[in-house]
């Protein structure tokens, strides 16, 4: 075990008063065979901590602890602790996921330019972090995203057009979190990490062996809520994975404005392990997230995964990054593109042929078309809908205001329907 606190060392099942912990205990004894996780997790404790302690604070790019399985040049490499063995189908699947996610994202950006969306937060450059972690999840796991996890949403089967409603301004969320175990996007930075922790506490109380994953950014790591979620998850040994996409920027602020240590090292102080993974390496992200999820499932508590990646685009379509960062930085990261490196690998290993790429191009076009049409035909909400779902139990005050609003709307002589009288 790599953890220091007694709370974290205690198997979760013994904390559970429900007695349902046996399921967990069984699961722990016989972990899922398919999991391509750690090769030598047991030996890692002391060695890992020592290595991390020695890691230089100021040279994160050359951190020897960065888990990588596929180099930027598309070469498969081994890591002493994390391995992965995927079928050609699975490898092509990851590539397809990343390409389609990028295409969806580009489509949304241009829809914003055309005025169809009010705003868009692009995930460009973060496809590997999101697809790798997203594909590590089981259906019964639960995801708490920020506002940028379009690739994770894709993995969860959330229809991509559903994500666009709130960016178009027709709703404030717009999907049923339970239909894909994918919570609503959260704009208030860091809040969702506590929700994820609480959800995970519930999973543990139920004796289930699902895991929970909370996404957040490098900027979010400064929020009190995030620190509190680390504390709670450690104290309750909650089955949660904290997946931090360190994309180097929080709007205009570089990561150095948020932290003096590499972010993954923060976990140690709370009593659970932190791992830094090459966030542009989909294989490494998949392997490390699987490992972290498996720890959660088997009662070993939280893990912090720091996916070291880069926000290739602007913060959102409202942002102008030329104000605060240099093109050269972006260019350097372009050489580490997550999609290109997998393509190089697929081609050099003859895992994918020209037909595969051609078919995928067609699929991209179809997706783009589908998204454009879906967005353009998205109706504006009925103004009366703002009074809906304010309370689960209803409210006399809301009813009164709704009636007043309806009467007001109807008072316009030229208004056959509500909302057209202006």
């Amino acid at each position: 075990m790599t953890v220091e606190s007694t709370a974290a060392r205690k198997p979760r099942s013994s904390n559970s008063s429900s007695g349902a912990g046996t399921k967990r205990a069984t699961a722990k004894k016989a972990p899922e065979k398919k999991t391509p996780a750690k090769k030598a997790a047991a030996k890692s404790a002391a060695a890992k901590s020592a290595a991390r302690e020695a890691a230089p604070h100021d040279a994160p790019q050359h951190d020897p602890e960065l888990v990588q399985l596929l180099t930027p040049e598309g070469k498969r490499v081994e890591h002493p602790e994390f391995g992965i063995d995927l079928t050609p189908d699975e490898l092509r699947g990851l590539y397809r996921d990343m390409v389609l996610t990028r295409r969806f994202d580009a489509e949304a950006t241009s829809l914003q330019r055309q005025g169809e969306l009010g705003l868009w937060a692009s995930l460009l450059g973060q496809e590997a972090a999101q697809i790798g972690s997203g594909r590590a999840l089981r259906d019964d796991d639960y995801v708490f995203p920020t506002y940028r996890e379009h690739g994770v949403a894709w993995c969860r089967g959330v229809p991509p057009e559903n994500l666009l409603g709130m960016f178009r301004g027709v709703n404030n969320g717009g999907w049923d979190p339970n239909s894909n175990n994918f919570h609503l996007y959260t704009i208030v930075i860091g809040s969702q990490t506590l929700h994820a922790t609480g959800y995970a506490m519930g999973v543990a109380k139920d004796g289930a062996d699902s895991a929970v994953i909370a996404y957040f950014g490098d900027g979010a790591s400064s929020q009190g809520d995030v620190a509190e979620s680390f504390t709670f998850s450690a104290v309750y040994n909650a089955p949660v994975v904290f997946f931090c996409q360190n994309n180097q920027w929080a709007i205009s602020e570089p990561t150095e404005k948020q932290t003096r240590v590499p972010l993954y090292q923060r976990a140690r102080g709370y009593g659970f392990p932190g791992i830094r993974v090459d966030g542009n390496d989909v294989l490494a992200c998949l392997a490390v997230t699987k490992y972290a999820l498996e720890r959660a499932r088997s009662g070993e508590g939280p893990t912090l995964v720091e996916a070291f990646t880069y926000r290739m685009g602007a913060h959102t379509t409202s942002d102008d990054p030329t104000k605060y960062r240099r093109d050269e930085e972006r260019e350097a990261w372009e050489a580490k593109d997550p999609i290109q490196r997998l393509r190089t690998y697929l081609e050099s290993e003859k895992i994918a042929d020209a037909d595969f790429f051609a078919a995928l191009d067609e699929e991209q076009e179809a997706l783009g078309k589908r998204v454009r049409e879906a967005v353009r035909s998205m109706p504006d909400p009925d103004p009366m809908s703002m009074f809906e779902n304010v309370y689960a139990d209803g409210s006399a005050l809301v009813d009164e205001e709704r009636a007043q609003f309806a009467a007001y709307q109807a008072s316009f002589a030229d208004s056959p329907v509500a909302g057209e009288g202006k």
Binding site: G118, L119, M166, I251, S252, F405, F412
Partner: protein, 326 residues
């Protein structure tokens, strides 16, 4: 140089610049306020000219921003902090309510809290959720805080000067959808008191009271009403705590009617406080109950229906008609 035509955002920028120039204890801090100059460019160029020690890009943590501002104030500094959007002040709400507001009283007056918290607020910019709210009542409710909101570039400039000079904490609500509205700013003028209301249009039939982004709407409503032969007085309250009740009272004693307009929900809104006080003070002058126009008891709606939620000219005139019908 004394009189310039500036948008509100630039007037605040000039005011901050002036304060940084004249008082070495003034600091500007917040998320993205330095290199970027703020997401609305209100602090544009300040870090370049005053350095990273005085114009500070903070970690992304509002409680941290306000909490450390309190500590800096204890040490003699005058921090002006920015909360990026209205909906993001709440991580700092604890520090503001339990610490900032009460410190002076708890220290028996021995400690002062000259902290300004700038909050771009209000809707009408087509934003996603948490970017369009008007939470001023949540602060005005707390003793020890001053709460103000300018509606013009001149007020933006001068009220910021006065807020920074105040030894009490000031929550400075900036009407973000008016940031680019231009007006004359006389940087040599002698400003009136920070918390005094101002009559921005005289009239005799009814008083409209508003602040921040709604002043413009009320002025437009008054102009439209004039075409129908109704004479509306418009008062820019400028300050939600304290409220210049004397000014409102004097107006209502002449007009006999009052409509209060704000974007914030009417339920427990500042209009409720004004209605209650003015009813107490002017009961025998009132020809109609004080009416309120504002947001509904519902979450701020998605952008594509916000125009229905926000008080506009028609809703103000509707209330005016109802008041005049009594």
């Amino acid at each position: 140089m004394a009189v310039q035509k500036l948008p509100i955002a630039k007037a605040i920028n000039e005011s901050l610049r002036k304060a940084l120039e004249t008082d070495p204890k003034v600091l500007v801090m917040g998320e993205d306020v330095g290199k970027l100059g703020g997401v609305f460019r209100v602090t544009d160029g300040l870090q370049k000219d005053f350095g990273e020690d005085r114009v500070i890009d903070t970690p992304l943590a509002e409680s941290g921003i306000v909490g450390t501002a309190i500590g800096l104030a204890l040490r003699g500094y005058r921090p002006v902090v920015e909360i990026q959007f209205d909906g993001f002040v709440f991580p700092a709400y604890d520090q503001i309510v339990t610490q900032l507001a009460k410190m002076h009283a708890r220290a028996l007056g021995k400690v002062k809290m000259p902290v300004v918290i700038r909050i771009p607020y209000g809707g009408g910019i087509g934003a996603v959720e948490h970017h369009s709210e008007s939470p001023e009542a949540l602060f005005a409710h707390v003793a020890g805080l001053k709460v103000v909101s300018p509606s013009s570039p001149s007020d933006a400039y001068w009220m910021m000067q006065q807020a920074i000079q105040s030894d009490d904490p000031v929550i400075f609500f900036e009407p973000k959808r008016r940031y680019w509205d231009k007006g004359e700013v006389d940087t040599d003028a002698i400003p009136g008191p920070l918390h005094a209301a101002r009559t921005v249009r005289e009239g005799s039939d009814l008083t409209l009271a508003a602040y921040g982004p709604m002043v413009k709407v009320c002025l437009e409503a008054a102009a439209a009403a004039q075409d129908e032969g109704k004479s509306l007085e418009v008062i820019d309250l400028r300050s939600m705590s304290p409220i210049d009740f004397d000014a409102v009272q004097a107006s209502v004693e002449r007009t006999g009617r009052l409509v209060v307009v704000h974007e914030a929900p009417v339920f427990y809104g500042s209009g409720a406080e004004i209605a209650a006080r003015i009813t107490e003070r002017c009961f025998y002058h009132l020809e109609a109950p004080v009416l309120r126009v504002g947001g509904y008891h519902a979450p701020y709606p998605p952008a594509r229906v916000e125009e229905e939620y926000l008080p506009g000219l028609d809703r103000v005139l509707d209330a005016v008609d109802r008041s005049l019908a009594y």
